[in-house]
């Protein structure tokens, strides 16, 4: 997920850096306003935790393994402002110690993982949670959906930045976009699963740790007392699910179509001579010359499918997690650990 220096053009880095600077300054401002004296050690610990949590490997195949990104996790526990600051500092330390990421692309990385991760994740979680009242299930499902949505949004944003960084003569962006979005829909699934299991674990063990900003009802555990109207009916869940799915599909499809249309025209002028030079090489590009429309359509379908199918999968996952996990009996919090 970390973008290295040199992947994006300096102008794009500067622009995204300016946006992140504003967002992080606002987070710091809010953090200072809301302060108890407890905020500083708590945020520091949260940042260190996200850092350490990223060290835990999640095997995918034999050599490949993924890890947590943690924006949604941080925002769920300490709230969006502290979460955003914590993620920013994680990214900074990753650059300053690991040389992971990059100095100029730090702003971009902050935008993708801290601002979208914490702010975006928090608002998506709050939106989804509204459909479940202030229940545990709502928190788990909300954070799962938020984790998925933030990864996808970051991927889509990256494609946009990448598009702005390089001239279309060098590369065909609709294909990069397809690859990126399909790839990240998998990463997002992993992130959603990890976040969901980790949060429901914490909810089982120490429910008071999970932040419930913006929801006035504080005690949720067991008592069933909550201020919000608890509409936990399946219809509401499905409604929420389709709203999210549609939102993401709607978010993705303009990208896909504009990428295809715009680039089709450009490629028609620039790419064909190139194509004639290279001769009839078997491969995907051959189709491009002969039947541009079906390929373009196929790609939008693929992208939309990645978006919608992934969203539905995440919803199924969230639903299962919310159904299965809170049913577990409360365990002894200290003894179970080691």
């Amino acid at each position: 997920m970390h973008i290295q220096d040199g992947v994006l053009s300096p102008v794009v880095c500067a622009a995204t850096g300016a946006i992140s600077l504003g967002a992080v300054s606002y987070s710091v401002h809010r953090l200072q306003q809301s302060v108890g004296d407890r905020t500083i050690p708590l945020t520091g610990m949260m940042a260190a935790l996200v850092f350490a949590g990223q060290m835990v490997n999640f095997p995918i195949g034999a050599p490949v393994s993924g890890h947590l990104l943690g924006g949604v996790l941080a925002a769920t526990v300490v709230g969006p402002w502290a979460g955003c600051v914590a993620m920013t500092l994680v990214l900074f330390v990753q650059w300053a110690l690991f040389s992971d990421g990059g100095l100029f692309s730090l702003g971009t990385n902050v935008l993708h993982m801290a601002v979208i991760g914490a702010w975006g994740g928090h608002s998506v979680r709050m939106f989804v949670q509204r459909f479940f009242g202030d229940s545990r299930k709502g928190i788990v499902i909300g954070s799962v959906v938020a984790a998925w949505a933030t990864v996808m949004a970051a991927a889509a944003l990256f494609c946009l930045e990448f598009r702005l960084s390089w001239s279309p003569r060098e590369i065909d962006f609709s294909k990069v976009f397809t690859l990126m979005v399909s790839f990240h829909s998998l990463i997002g699934l992993g992130e959603a699963l990890i976040t969901g299991v980790a949060i429901s674990f914490v909810l089982n063990q120490r429910p008071e740790l999970i932040c419930r900003m913006g929801t006035p009802a504080r005690p949720i555990e067991g008592t069933g007392r909550s201020v919000h109207p608890t509409a936990t009916a399946i219809t509401r869940t499905l409604a929420a699910g389709f709203v999210i799915a549609l939102a993401i599909a709607a978010f993705l499809s303009p990208f896909a179509s504009s990428f295809d249309d715009g680039l089709e025209a450009v490629l028609g002028k620039l790419g064909i001579e190139n194509f004639n030079l290279t001769g009839n090489v078997p491969g995907l590009l051959e189709d491009y010359d002969k039947v541009p429309v079906p390929v373009a359509a196929w790609q939008s379908i693929a992208v939309s499918f990645a978006g919608i199918g992934g969203t539905l999968a995440v919803f199924a996952l969230a639903w299962l997690l919310g159904k299965v996990l809170p049913a577990a009996p409360p365990q002894l919090s200290e003894a179970a650990g080691e």
Partner: protein, 220 residues
Amino acid sequence: MSDFLDRFGRGQSMCHRWPPFVKLFAAVAMILAATCAPITHGPLVGIVACVIFFAHTLARIPLRYVGRRLLFFWPTLFLMAISLPLSQAGQKGWLLFVTILVRGTLSFSTALWLVNVMPFDQLLATLRRLRVPDVLLAILSLMYRFLFVLWDELDRMRTARSARLFRKPSLWETWRSAAHLVGRLLIRALDRADRIHGAMLARSWNGRTRWIEPRREDQR
């Protein structure tokens, strides 16, 4: 872990004795040059690479160490870069591929140089003089302190986990236990934050950060 990250940070070479600002701006300038030099302009890229290499030599950072760090770094960069030509079915994007590889490597080695000539406390002091907000720096310094504590905690938990396992777990079990590891670590970290907060209160912490003036060698 800290030994691996900035092993040569406390060295006594010429680069280490430069004022912190000079080091920081030298690094920024080198990264800027590395990311802005057009890749088709071979000599320019070569000069930038030479300057970075020379900086490493001046700082007495062993080549073996740089090589080892690069070996850990290259696979991820390569994956990122190769996805571009792959997405074009190998037809286009090779120039971009090379660009990303070269620029990534150069800026990574520059950052590596900076880490190894500038210890973290010095970096914090420099950032403070650059007017970075105190809250951020306080959180950052606490984070740096907690980082190694949590790493050790994670290590212990991993050891305990592998000691409890008698067979190879299935993929789902691995994922579940890894996610539980994260959750457990979260609980422990927050408890520790509470204890630390209590200890800070006992030492008259009131939410405002105060800094000890940096030592003389940092100011030079």
